[in-house]
């Protein structure tokens, strides 16, 4: 099937304004007759729930955490992009649009990216009105910093806690609506299944994580703002409880999963220190504004104290390879470059899997106090984890899985191929193509939540009669029964190994064979090994406790099971995509200098996969990507 993304046609500069005007409206007094389910309360879900509640819809919002303030958006550090051009350094909506398309290696839809760039400015205004304490200069104006993949300063920030402050802004707006009674908040709920009635998304099945009860909720539309899936690699920068579960449930009910092989490996994370490690911690990319990345030129220097290695024996490889972007090369490029150095046995730290991020030049230039003001909390965090002082000794960093550009397929309205199912933020696939630029995730989450879904969902709701919130249709009970049966199966295996053990093993397979470098052989090996490990899991997992209580082991087992089912889809997508682009690097497809080699003739499309049943091969649907405004070109940062 050739998919239609419903992209507006005509001049791109007017595309969103015109489309918005053409959308049907729901009369204010009719809005209260519609109910919307929002799963996830991060930047996208929190902002959307608040905005939709304020418009007058009834909203039921769900999160697995104990409070909507804790979604993993909170961990974003560096900043949020907007095309304000306050520094007058040549920025514009068009440039942000261009940078994002190019940064995504020409694998995103032009119209969606244009809209994102256009509303980026509204986001900053909105957040300031909410009382988000963005950094200011001494004259009282907003301050900006630079981020990877851009040659202008367009990133707004709140110390190293921008994600936290933006999320708390959305959370405060959400809290206001909860108080006003327009949003009903359900915390400690995990969405286990999507309920589809007559081909339309009508509700969800949840597990109450406190009591263990299986609950059904019905509405007129369901929105998933449930984040990304890179915990499939086990060691990632995601929150421990982030999972593919909600998205996978929707996929199994018919929603197409698009470009799952596009995963972002972030270059500046703290390297792994041992087997027991439960997660990796990211250090904001903003550090690359002032930090210089290097490894020793000579292999024999790798064991030395970095401060004993003289300047001429250091290889500042990003500055060498990419002179115009230098240390601010985009993430995929910086990550692969780090891997190359380590593969060349010039890595540092445990296992030789690390490179230096050195602040000494900047400290000499602007002083340690200035560096502390900019990144103090990051240096503190680094010291807590590694017991090393980043002011005195270069930090050690290594790439780690960080973000999923792929996600559920959506059209321009953010609606999936299932009518009534909308997908927002990281959970969808829409704007980042094959690689996301720094400070663009926060922008997308808030754009979708504040400024896109409030319009587009109205267009859908205006076309249907309210269904009401009754869970009488038999599909609700059927879904709940299936969830209970799946839980009982897990509890009754009574095997020998823990869910964590299996998640770690699955992650190892994914990282080794489908991580920063992917080959036909490694991917095919995974297609064989993952199902074997999955079978072992199903026969040997040990889930302590019962289903009718607070049970974190059961939560972990359920999520692990979904990752086992999802992993092969990611691998299959990577195998299908016989090209290298953005975060997806097939070793067979590279130029002589090791740069990614795209194949526009055969792969200039979004790959949307349809679930065909357990142990059946998924079916590939293609959405061709058209570039009418930006010329398809080799992506160069040299």
């Amino acid at each position: 099937m050739i998919l239609d993304g419903k992209s507006p046609t005509g001049p791109i500069q007017q595309s969103w304004d015109k489309y918005r005007f053409d959308l049907k409206l729901v009369n204010p007094s009719n809005k209260r007759k519609y109910t919307i389910i929002m799963v996830g309360t991060g930047l996208a879900g929190g902002a959307a729930a608040a905005s939709l509640g304020e418009l007058g819809y009834n909203v039921m919002a769900f999160c697995y955490q104990d409070s909507p303030r804790r979604a993993h958006s909170i961990a974003a550090q560096g900043g949020i992009n907007a095309a304000k051009n306050y520094p007058s350094d040549g920025d514009s909506v068009y440039r942000l649009f261009y940078d994002t398309i190019k940064g995504g290696d020409f694998r995103a839809r032009e119209a969606d990216v244009w809209r994102l760039a256009q509303v980026s400015n509204n986001i900053i205004d909105q957040c300031v009105a909410q009382g988000v304490p963005f950094a200011r200069d001494y004259a009282g104006y907003l301050d900006n910093r630079s981020f990877g993949g851009a040659q202008v300063s367009r990133t707004f920030f709140a110390r190293g806690q921008t994600g936290q402050q933006l999320l708390l802004g959305a959370y405060s707006a959400l809290s206001r609506q909860i108080k006003a009674g327009t949003v009903q908040m359900y915390t400690r709920r995990e969405m286990m299944d999507l309920v589809v009635v007559d081909g339309v998304a009508r509700g969800i099945t949840c597990r109450n994580l406190v009591t263990g009860e299986i609950e059904s909720y019905a509405a007129d539309a369901v929105c998933l703002a449930t984040g990304g899936y890179v915990n499939v690699f086990y060691l990632a920068t995601m929150a421990k409880n982030s999972s593919v579960t909600a998205n996978w449930a929707a996929h199994k009910k018919g929603a197409f999963f698009a470009n799952p092989c596009y995963t972002q490996i972030h270059p500046t994370c703290i390297p792994q220190s041992g087997e027991y490690q439960s997660k990796l911690t990211l250090m904001s990319e903003s550090l690359r504004n002032d930090g210089r990345v290097w490894v020793p030129k000579k292999k024999e220097d790798c064991g030395k104290h970095p401060n004993d290695i003289p300047e001429e024996d250091r290889d500042y490889y990003l500055e060498r390879k990419y002179p115009s972007f230098g240390n601010l090369a985009p993430r995929d490029i910086a990550s692969r470059a780090a891997k190359e150095q380590c593969d060349d046995e010039r890595g540092v730290g445990p296992g030789g899997r690390g490179v230096y991020l050195d602040f000494s030049t900047s400290i000499k230039r602007v002083g340690a106090a200035k560096i502390k003001e900019r990144y103090g909390n990051l240096f503190e965090m680094y010291e807590k984890i590694t017991d090393e002082d980043g002011y005195k000794r270069p930090m050690r960093i290594y790439p780690a899985p960080h973000y999923a550009m792929g996600g559920l397929w959506v059209d321009y309205n953010l609606m999936s191929n299932i009518p009534g199912l909308f997908v927002l933020g990281e959970a969808n696939f829409s704007v980042h193509g094959a690689n996301r630029l720094g400070a663009s995730a926060l922008m997308q989450g808030l754009a979708d939540g504040y400024f896109v879904i409030p319009y587009t969902i109205g267009g859908y709701l205006a076309s249907i009669k309210p269904y009401g919130t009754s869970t009488d249709p038999s599909e609700f009970k059927q879904s709940a029964d299936e969830v209970k049966e799946r839980i009982n199966k897990l509890l009754n295996v009574k095997g020998k190994e823990t869910p964590t053990h299996y998640m770690r093993e699955l992650g190892r397979l994914m990282w080794n064979n489908c991580g920063m470098g992917r080959s036909k052989e490694s991917l095919e090996e995974n297609l064989k090994k993952i199902p074997e490990l999955h079978q072992e899991f199903l026969q040997n997992v040990k889930v302590a406790g019962t289903g009718a209580e607070f049970n974190q082991q059961l939560e972990a087992a359920w999520r692990t099971q979904d990752f086992f089912e999802f992993g092969p889809l990611l691998v299959r997508d990577a195998l299908n995509r016989e090209e290298s682009c953005g975060g997806h690097f097939r070793v067979e497809h590279q130029y002589d200098d090791g740069e990614a080699k795209r194949n526009d003739a055969d792969f200039c499309y979004a790959a949307a996969w349809e679930y065909k049943g357990e142990n059946k091969e998924p079916e590939l649907h293609k959405e061709p990507l058209k570039f009418e405004n930006i010329h398809l070109a080799v992506r160069s940062y040299k």
């Binding site: 709140a158 421990k240 965090m381």
Partner: protein, 251 residues
């Protein structure tokens, strides 16, 4: 850097099935811990051991494991988050302990935080304080340009100092009165120092203070335990600012 030496740690952990159970301390021993294990990774090791031994693992809240989500919440050796300055449990590393140490692990204990299981408590009372007024009532869209109101850098910085609160509840757990004054004071102050927050300042502080009372939080008697326990170093001056805002709101 590489810690080849490993530690054996004795743990005394609070176990409680649910809110109705009386609960008790249980003793465990966990081996093979290095200085690079975080406190939560040490508990992961304990749980893997317990599951292999056919016992119930310990439930504890955690999520981001990088000190920002505010989910983790344990009293360690009598101190909320374990007593390392400006540190959440997930960022506390085992290098702060010695081989053979005995460590007591308990949940947040406060009247406003009913216990759910083991080390997990219900902190929704903090959400209700925010719902009472922790926002500016701006609408989505229809707001002025971000640079149209200049905000002096010191005010923006002070607002940010207050806004760093992660809502973990350590201040409440650390307070002998179970007060949420630091939590509420920080949110009141974040808005009080910004021009966007001034129009609703009076009603905000009155409503949020009332919500503290309604949700079973105690009052402040100037112990400063909250500031000592706070993983983000929120200063008690924000309590003073809240009091000042509260008095101003009377007139």
């Amino acid at each position: 850097m590489s810690d080849h030496k490993t530690m054996t740690i004795n743990l005394v952990v609070w176990r409680q099935k649910n809110a109705n159970d009386t609960g008790k301390f249980e003793n465990y021993t966990v081996k093979g811990i290095t200085g690079h294990h975080s406190f939560l990774e040490m508990l992961d090791v304990l749980n893997e051991d317990l599951i292999h031994a056919g016992k119930e693992p310990v439930n504890f809240d955690h999520d981001c494991r990088e000190g920002i989500c505010g989910m983790c919440s344990q009293v360690i050796n009598g101190m909320a988050h374990g007593g390392q300055e400006r540190t959440t449990v997930c960022q506390l590393h085992m290098r702060k302990f010695k081989d053979g140490d005995t460590i007591y692990v308990e949940p947040w204990r406060a009247r406003a935080f009913p216990l759910l299981k083991d080390l997990v408590v219900d902190r929704s009372a903090l959400d209700r304080i925010i719902q009472a007024g922790g926002y500016t009532s701006c609408h989505t869209g229809g707001v002025p340009d971000a640079n149209s109101t200049l905000i002096p850098k010191p005010a923006a910085d002070e607002s940010m100092d207050a806004a760093e609160c992660i809502g973990c509840g350590a201040c409440v757990a650390g307070c002998p009165n179970g007060a949420a004054m630091l939590f509420t004071g920080a949110k009141v102050s974040q808005f009080a120092v910004l021009p966007q927050g001034r129009p609703e300042a009076k009603q905000r502080v009155l409503n949020m203070v009332q919500a503290m009372k309604d949700n079973n939080f105690g009052n402040c008697t100037n112990h400063y335990e909250c500031q000592a326990a706070c993983p983000k170093g929120i200063n008690v001056k924000f309590i003073a600012r809240m009091n000042r805002e509260y008095f101003k709101a009377q007139f």
